[in-house]
C-alpha cells in the first residue's frame, strides 16, 4: 500500500489500474472521432472517416496499453519527467512500427505518418497531464480516509475484556457496573467521532480518566496511575485521541504483562505557550504481547503533523527499565481559521 502511494505520488498514472486503462480507451477514441469530424465536412462523413481510421487506431491503442502495462514497474522507478518521455516514445514507436506492417491496407505516405505521430504524441501528453491532475485532486480524499482509518483503532482485546469485567459487576455491584458502562460509552463516542476536529485538553484528560477507571476495574491493584496534571492548560486545543492511545500503550505493554503491580505516570503541563505531555511505564522484556507500540506512535506523530505541522514533537526513551514517551505541541486556545473543518 505505502509502496504504491510513494511510487505514484508524483502523478504518473498506474498503467495497471483498470480505471486508468478505461479512461485512456475512451479519451483516445473520443479524440479520434473529434479529429475525423474536424478533417471531413459533415458528421456522417466524419464518422465514416473514423471507421476507416479505427482499423489503424485500435490495434495501435491496444498495443500501447499492453506495452505500458508491461513496462509499468520500470516506469515507477524512473524520475517523473523521464517516465513521461519513455511513455510518449513507446507510443510513437508502436504507431510508427504499425504503420509499416505489411498487412496495412496501403503503405502510408510520409504526410499520413507525420499526422499519426503528431496525433499520438498530443493525445499521450494530454492524457498524462489529465491523469496527473486527477491524481492530485484525489490525494486530499486519500489523506482523509487514512486519517479516519488511523483513528478507528481500539484493541479488541481491551473491548472484550472490559465488557467481561462489566458483566462480572452486574450482580455484585450494579452501581459500579452502570458507571463502567457509562465510561465505556464515553470512550467509544470519542473513538467514533470526527477525528478532524480539535478538542479541549480538559476533555481529553477526562477521557484519560474514564479509560483509566475501566482498566482499573480489570486489573485491580496491578494498575497504579500517578496523575501530575495540576498544571495542564485546560483550554489548550489538540487533535482528539492523542493521549488515550499513549495511556493504552502504557497499560498494555507496561502493566498487563507484569505479575506485580505496575505504575504509570501521566504528566501534562503548559510552559512557555507549549504543552508538554509525558507518560512513563515499566518495561517487560519477556512480554508475550505483540509489539504495536511503534505503529501507535507513528500514527500519533502523523496526526500531530497534520494538525500542528512541524511544531509538534514526539520522542521516546528507554532507561532504567522504564519506557517514556514525550510529546509537545503549541498551546493554541482559539481554533485556527479554516483548519478545524478542512483538515
Amino acid at each position: 500500500m505505502s509502496i504504491k502511494q510513494n511510487a505514484y505520488s508524483d502523478g504518473l498514472p498506474d498503467f495497471r489500474n483498470l480505471g486508468v486503462i478505461a479512461r485512456i480507451l475512451v479519451a483516445v477514441n473520443l479524440a479520434a472521432i473529434g479529429a475525423a469530424c474536424y478533417a471531413e465536412p459533415g458528421w456522417a462523413r466524419g464518422m465514416a472517416r473514423f471507421a476507416d481510421d479505427a482499423a489503424f487506431i485500435e490495434p495501435a491503442l491496444l498495443a500501447s496499453i499492453v506495452a505500458l502495462y508491461l513496462i509499468s514497474p520500470a516506469l515507477v522507478s524512473m524520475r517523473y519527467l523521464l517516465a513521461n518521455v519513455v511513455v510518449v516514445a513507446v507510443v510513437l514507436c508502436i504507431v510508427a512500427g504499425m504503420s509499416y506492417l505489411p498487412q496495412s491496407l496501403s503503405a502510408p505516405d510520409e504526410r499520413q505518418l507525420a499526422r499519426r505521430l503528431v496525433f499520438s504524441a498530443a493525445i499521450s501528453l494530454a492524457l498524462l497531464g489529465y491523469l496527473r491532475l486527477r491524481a492530485k485532486a484525489f490525494s486530499p480524499a486519500l489523506t482523509e480516509a487514512r486519517l479516519q482509518a488511523l483513528q478507528a483503532r481500539i484493541r479488541p482485546h481491551f473491548l472484550f475484556n472490559s465488557l467481561n469485567a462489566v458483566l462480572s459487576l452486574i450482580r455484585r455491584d450494579p452501581k459500579r457496573a452502570e458507571l463502567a458502562l457509562e465510561d465505556l460509552a464515553d470512550l467509544f463516542r470519542v473513538l467514533m467521532s470526527d477525528g478532524r476536529k480539535f478538542v479541549r485538553l480538559a476533555d481529553e484528560i477526562a477521557l484519560l480518566e474514564r479509560y483509566a477507571s475501566i482498566e482499573q476495574l480489570r486489573l485491580g491493584e496491578r494498575l497504579r496511575v500517578v496523575w501530575e496534571i495540576d498544571n495542564a492548560p485546560q483550554d489548550a486545543l489538540l487533535p482528539p485521541l492523542v493521549l488515550q492511545p499513549l495511556l493504552e500503550n502504557a497499560v498494555y505493554h507496561g502493566v498487563e504483562p507484569g505479575t506485580e503491580a505496575g505504575e504509570v505516570l501521566v504528566r501534562i503541563e503548559g510552559r512557555a505557550e507549549r504543552v508538554f505531555v509525558r507518560m512513563v511505564n515499566p518495561i517487560h522484556p519477556g512480554s508475550t504481547h505483540r509489539p504495536g507500540n511503534h505503529m501507535a506512535l507513528d500514527n500519533l506523530r502523523e496526526r500531530l503533523m497534520l494538525f500542528f505541522d512541524a511544531e509538534a514533537k514526539v520522542s521516546t526513551r528507554e532507561a532504567d527499565g522504564r519506557y517514556q514517551v514525550d510529546i509537545e505541541f503549541p498551546q493554541i486556545t482559539a481554533k485556527p481559521a479554516g483548519q478545524v473543518e478542512t483538515r
Partner: protein
Amino acid sequence: MSARPLRLFVADDEPPARSRLRELLEDLRAECPAEVVGEAGNGLEVLDRLPESGAEVLLLDINMPGLSGLEVARHLSGLENGPAIVFVTAHDAHAVEAFELNALDYLLKPVRAARLAAALRKARHTGAPLPASLERAQAGPRTHFSIVERNRIHLVPVAGVLYFKAELKYVTLRARDREHLIEESLVSLEKEFATHFIRIHRNCLVARAAISGFERAAGGAEDEAHWEVLLEGVPDRLPVSRRQWSEVRDILGQRGRG
C-alpha cells in the same frame, strides 16, 4: 452425567474475569455440577498450584502475565494425570486459528453459560490435550523448560540453560546451579530454539550467550586435536566436532566484530 461435581481450576489474571466464571458455574450447578478447587492470577501460579489441587479441568486464559496460557498448557502436559484444558481468550485471532487447527477447545470472552457447559461436558470426556497439538498451536519458542518431579513442575528459564547434552537415552539440561534430565530430543530443541542455541557436536547444543571462549585441546592417544568451548561461570569444557567447527567459529567472529 455423574453426580460427583467436576473439579475445576480457574486461571485468569483479571479478578473480575475469574468471578464472572464462578458466577456462571454457580448458574450451571444443576445442569453441570462443578467445584472450583483452585484459582491463579498468572501462569507461574497455575503451575505451582494446579498439580496438588487435583483439578480435572482447567479454564485457562491465554493472555496472562509471566507465562502465556499456551505455554502453561505445554508444561502441564508433562503431568501424569494432567487436567483437560479449555482455553479462554478475549480476542486473539492467531490463537483461535491455532486452536481450531489443532482441535483444542476454547471459549471467547465474554463467556456464555451454555458454551461453558458444553465445553465442560466435552472436556470431561476428552481429557488432557495432546502435547503435539499444544506445540503446534504455540507461535514461538517456550520461555521455560519444565521438569516434573513427583507431581511438582519445576521450571528452568531458557535464559538460564547453558547447554544440552545427549547421553544414551536421555538429554541432560545443564543450568548454572544443577543438571536435569529431560525427555526431549536435541533435534527438536535445536529447531525450537535456533536463535538461542548452537549445535557444537552431534550430542551437544550450547547457549550462544553462555560461550566465553574456545581453546585448542591437545589430542590424546586415540583422539585428534580439537577445539573446546569454554563457558561463562562453570568449569565444564565441551568438545566441538570437526563438522561444526566452521559454523561455531563464525559465531565467535561475529561477536568479535560486534
